[in-house]
């Protein structure tokens, strides 16, 4: 019964978004028939139209709107590409209940424009940007358009979920996924949590740490769900993390390298990003906590001998981050200042200098028990 209900819900949402696309297109056609040059209203993305909502703890989009015009030399091609995306999503994906990758879309819509030597899309970057324009213009996100982002991230822990591929439903026990763990798909809306027997979620930015923790049976011993994002978290992983936190009220702890890039990965998972500010609501996980690693950790765990000298780009990044509203907490300002002062960074693996299982047996339990987190 539950399955059926989800199916209905999904179908409904599909119909809704299809209708939205149709409305947008109908509006454009109406403009054309009136003799007006067609345009699409798109909220401006990027730093100039992004702000930090302190209450919601999210990076959100401002209300600046720009238009893409067909009859402007600079816009024309992109307008056309956005239309290609719209028709592909509506006609090929939603109407057939199929999902596709960004690359699929690229190949499906790439062709030579009749009577010219020009291709509709030169390289995938163009169609990727058109997709973002399109999803923002509809105030939706690509997963709802049946577009899949790159699946990245793995999980392991005592949780049973149900996933579906079109109408086939699979029950998956995340505690029996072997050495590799369960691969988080790019679209996670359809996933249902069936049996959840964990106290928290531990996210490591690095594959190697996940493998270490999995080998050490850390999740079994500590009754948690472990996850790796393999660098900057993919949309699927971020969305799933949010659902785990908000639907199941599980605390989320995030572990990254002790450097500005690691911290930025954390902030993206927690607050969202500037580029995808329109999706913070859906992808952000404002309650997540930063478990490590910090510059203070380097001092506390006496890792000075295994640090790396910071590069210029790291320092530049840190200086930028220091100005971001979402890094204004005094703990973070302190960390960033320490970093800028000492100009050193450390990888999570530096903990292995103590011993291989130091992270599983000492560092993480200690941190979690003491609630030694950064906001």
């Amino acid at each position: 019964m539950a399955t059926k209900k989800t199916d209905d819900k999904m179908g409904q949402s599909r119909q809704q978004i299809g209708k939205k696309i149709e409305e947008q297109a109908t509006g454009i056609v109406a403009d054309i028939m009136k003799g007006a040059g067609p345009s699409i209203a798109i909220p401006v993305r990027g730093s100039r139209n992004v702000e930090f909502d302190k209450e919601k703890k999210k990076i959100v989009l401002g209300d600046k709107i720009a238009h893409r015009y067909l009859f402007n030399v600079g816009h024309a091609r992109k307008f056309m590409q956005t239309m290609l995306v719209a028709s592909y999503v509506k006609k090929d994906l939603l109407e057939n209940n199929l999902t596709a990758t960004l690359r699929d879309l690229y190949y499906a819509k790439k062709h030579t424009i009749a009577g010219t030597k020009e291709d509709t899309i030169d390289d995938q970057k163009e169609s990727d940007l058109a997709i973002v324009d399109f999803e923002v213009s509809l105030d939706t996100f690509r997963e709802k358009l049946n577009l899949r982002a790159e699946p990245k991230g793995r999980m392991a822990g005592s949780v049973i979920i149900e996933d579906r591929v079109r109408n086939k439903v699979d029950s998956i026990d995340l505690s029996h996924m072997g050495s590799g763990g369960w691969a988080v798909p790019s679209i996670v809306e359809q996933i249902e949590f069936k049996k959840v027997d964990v106290d928290y979620v531990l996210v490591a930015e690095k594959n190697a740490i996940f493998d270490r923790l999995n080998e050490d049976e850390y999740w079994a011993k500590n009754n948690c769900l472990i996850m790796t994002t393999a660098g900057q978290a993919a949309r699927g992983a971020r969305r799933l993390l949010q659902r785990l936190n908000e639907e199941l009220k599980l605390p989320v702890y995030i572990l990254t390298d002790a450097d500005p890039y690691g911290w930025y990965i954390y902030s993206t998972m927690k607050y969202g990003s500037m580029a995808l500010a329109h999706e913070s609501d859906r992808l952000g996980c404002p309650n997540a906590n930063f478990i490590g690693m910090s510059i203070s950790d380097i001092e506390h765990y006496d890792l000075k001998a295994v640090t790396i000298k910071a590069k210029d780009v790291d320092i530049k990044r840190a200086e930028e981050m220091k100005k971001y509203d979402w890094f204004k907490a005094k703990e973070w300002q302190l960390e960033i200042n320490k970093f800028l002062e000492k100009k050193i960074k450390a990888e999570i693996q530096s903990l292995s200098s103590k011993n291989l299982q130091y992270i599983s047996n000492t560092y993480l339990p200690e941190k979690i028990n003491n609630k030694d987190f950064l906001p």
Binding site: I21, E22, A25, T26, I28, V29, I32, M33, G35, A36, G37, P38, I42, V44, R45, G46, S47, R48, N49, A66, H67, R68, Y69, L70, F71, N72, V73, G74, H75, A76, R77, F79, M80, M83, L84, A86, S87, K90, K91, T101, L102, R103, I113, A114, G115, E118, D128, V132, D133, R148, A149, E150, P151, G231, Q232, T268, S273, M274, A275, L276
Partner: protein, 551 residues
């Protein structure tokens, strides 16, 4: 190539040499002074002498010039140049003077504005042929009285006297002059310095003439007549003292009928009164003005000319100028250049050196066949003095100086040298201040350069307007093309989503595109540019920050 500077010979050298040699001997030794340097240039110079004489001869008899110029390369490498005109013809008794005696021209005395002004040209061609090939120059001429004279002419170098051989006289229907001259140390090609270019430019400045050129490869080019209006004959006036050179004065003295130098000055010059003769006399106390003119020495003539320059004169009359006229020039340039746009200046005469009248006719032709012959989109500056093309020594010329100092960028012609542009300047004056004996360049005197600049800038303003219109049209066309390119795709997408007939959307979009491209920059377009900047900024950072990959 013969672009070298004129060899500068000081008046002292000249007078010394004149004493030692005959005029013929002098110029034989100094042929570079007359433009006989370089093989291509030498041939062009010979052609120039005959062509200018031919055009003058036609104007004298009030006929529309029909010129034939044929160039043959002979087996021995010599070049045969044949020119034929339908002008007055040369009376039998004058043939020797016209073609076999240097500094014997008749034009000078008339002080009419003429193409050739010195009595050296055609006779020197005879001499040049003689020096280089040992051949005589063959002439066939008739004044139109049914009698034709043919003979071979050469010059006795020692005495500067003409020698005529094989004189034949017969009855035939012919009028005009045909000259056949054989030359060595010359060469023919179609470069900027060749006869082809010379004739093309001559045709440009003489719309009433029809010129046919037969090249060595037998290729026939006709520069067709653009107008049947024969230029109004310039009024004959006496020379103004300011417009005279030492050799001019010597020339006058040689043929003057006056008994005294003083009476020659008073009677044969314009604005030269008895008062002025007295003034001259007081300035040159060592010259006895009561002597016969033919006894005037070169050094004395020099001093007199110098005195002329220091005396205050009443300005010469201006109605002796014979411009091409705007109408004729327009016909001519349109006829030969078929330009997309043509601007011609219309300006009144001006004076230089305190009183010598001159007039500048400038034109700029853009597009069509404008620009240098034989190369796509290459600009050219065409210089003329009294309708005679100036091909050589551009570097020393007032016209070049004017062209060089104009800020062409202001007129959208910054790169005119690589554009289909013909810049045309004709300097008209009874007295053209040439920089050398070869009549190749106009002295860059301030009044002249300024006037040429102003005339050219007047034309350039018009061309600029045209180029801007053109650019705008090209922009609009370009924009329309861009929009049209995407319309089909957009219409198809909208059809796929909404089910509205794509043909209907397409048709409507095309209509809007045409409307949109007819306005250059509207307010909403500026808005669009701002929007674009906003959207692009975001796009740049997009992928980098989110670490999305191309899966």
């Amino acid at each position: 190539m013969a672009k070298g500077k004129e060899v500068v010979v000081s008046p002292d050298d000249l007078s010394k040499e004149f004493k030692e040699y005959s005029v013929a001997e002098f110029f034989k030794r100094n042929r570079q002074m007359l433009g006989y340097t370089g093989k291509v240039r030498s041939l062009t110079t010979v052609a120039h002498e005959y062509v200018t004489n031919a055009l003058d001869a036609c104007e004298d008899s009030n006929v529309l010039p029909e010129l034939l110029v044929e160039i043959q390369v002979l087996e021995n490498g010599h070049v045969k140049l044949i020119t034929e005109d339908n002008g007055t013809g040369i009376p039998k008794q004058n043939i020797g003077q016209a073609l076999g005696k240097l500094l014997a021209g008749t034009k000078f005395m008339q002080r009419q504005q003429k193409r050739g002004q010195q009595g050296i040209g055609a006779a020197y061609a005879t001499l040049f042929s003689q020096i280089t090939t040992g051949k005589e120059t063959h002439v066939k001429t008739s004044v139109g009285d049914g009698k034709v004279v043919e003979c071979d002419v050469s010059i006795d170098i020692n005495s500067n006297e003409p020698v005529l051989h094989n004189v034949k006289e017969y009855s035939a229907k012919f009028r005009g002059t045909r000259i056949e001259v054989e030359l060595a140390e010359v060469d023919y090609n179609r470069s900027t310095y060749g006869a082809f270019e010379y004739l093309r430019r001559t045709a440009l400045a003489n719309p009433h003439s029809q010129i046919t050129l037969v090249e060595p490869n037998k290729e026939i080019t006709v520069f067709p007549r653009a107008s049947k209006d024969i230029p109004v004959k310039p009024k004959k006036i006496q020379p103004h003292p300011l417009g005279i050179t030492t050799s001019d004065l010597m020339d006058m003295a040689g043929i003057s009928q006056a008994r005294k130098i003083s009476s020659m000055l008073q009677n044969e010059f314009s604005r030269l009164s008895a008062e002025k003769v007295k003034e001259i006399s007081s300035m040159c106390p060592n010259i006895d003005l009561d002597r016969a003119p033919k006894n005037l020495q070169w050094s004395e003539a020099e001093k007199l000319v110098d005195a002329f320059k220091r005396i205050k004169w009443i300005a010469p009359e201006t109605d002796a100028l014979q411009p091409i006229t705007t109408d004729q020039l327009r016909k001519s340039l349109k006829n030969l250049l078929e330009p997309e746009e043509l601007r011609i200046s219309e300006r009144p005469p001006k004076v230089f050196r305190g009183g010598i009248p001159f007039m500048v006719e400038a034109a700029i032709a853009y597009g069509g066949k404008a620009g240098a012959v034989g190369s796509e989109s290459k600009g050219e500056a065409l210089r003329f003095a009294n309708r005679v093309p100036l091909l050589f020594d551009a570097g020393n010329c007032a016209i070049t100086e004017a062209v060089k100092t104009i800020d062409w960028a202001r007129y959208d012609l910054k790169d005119w040298e690589n554009m289909p542009v013909s810049i045309f300047v004709n300097f008209t004056s009874v007295y053209v201040p040439y920089t050398g004996t070869g009549k190749l360049a106009i002295a860059a005197e301030e009044e002249i350069v300024t006037e040429i600049r102003n005339a050219l800038m007047e034309c350039a303003r018009g061309i600029s307007t045209y180029i801007r219109t053109l650019k705008r049209a090209a922009d609009q066309e370009e924009r329309k093309k861009i929009f049209f390119k995407y319309i089909t795709e957009v219409a198809q997408c909208l059809d796929e989503i909404t089910g509205t007939d794509r043909k209907q959307i397409e048709e409507k979009l095309r209509k809007i595109a045409v409307e949109k491209t007819s306005i250059l920059v509207s307010a909403d377009e500026e808005e669009a540019e701002k929007d674009l900047a906003e959207l692009e900024k975001a796009a740049e950072k997009e992928m980098v920050e989110d670490g999305e990959s191309e899966e």
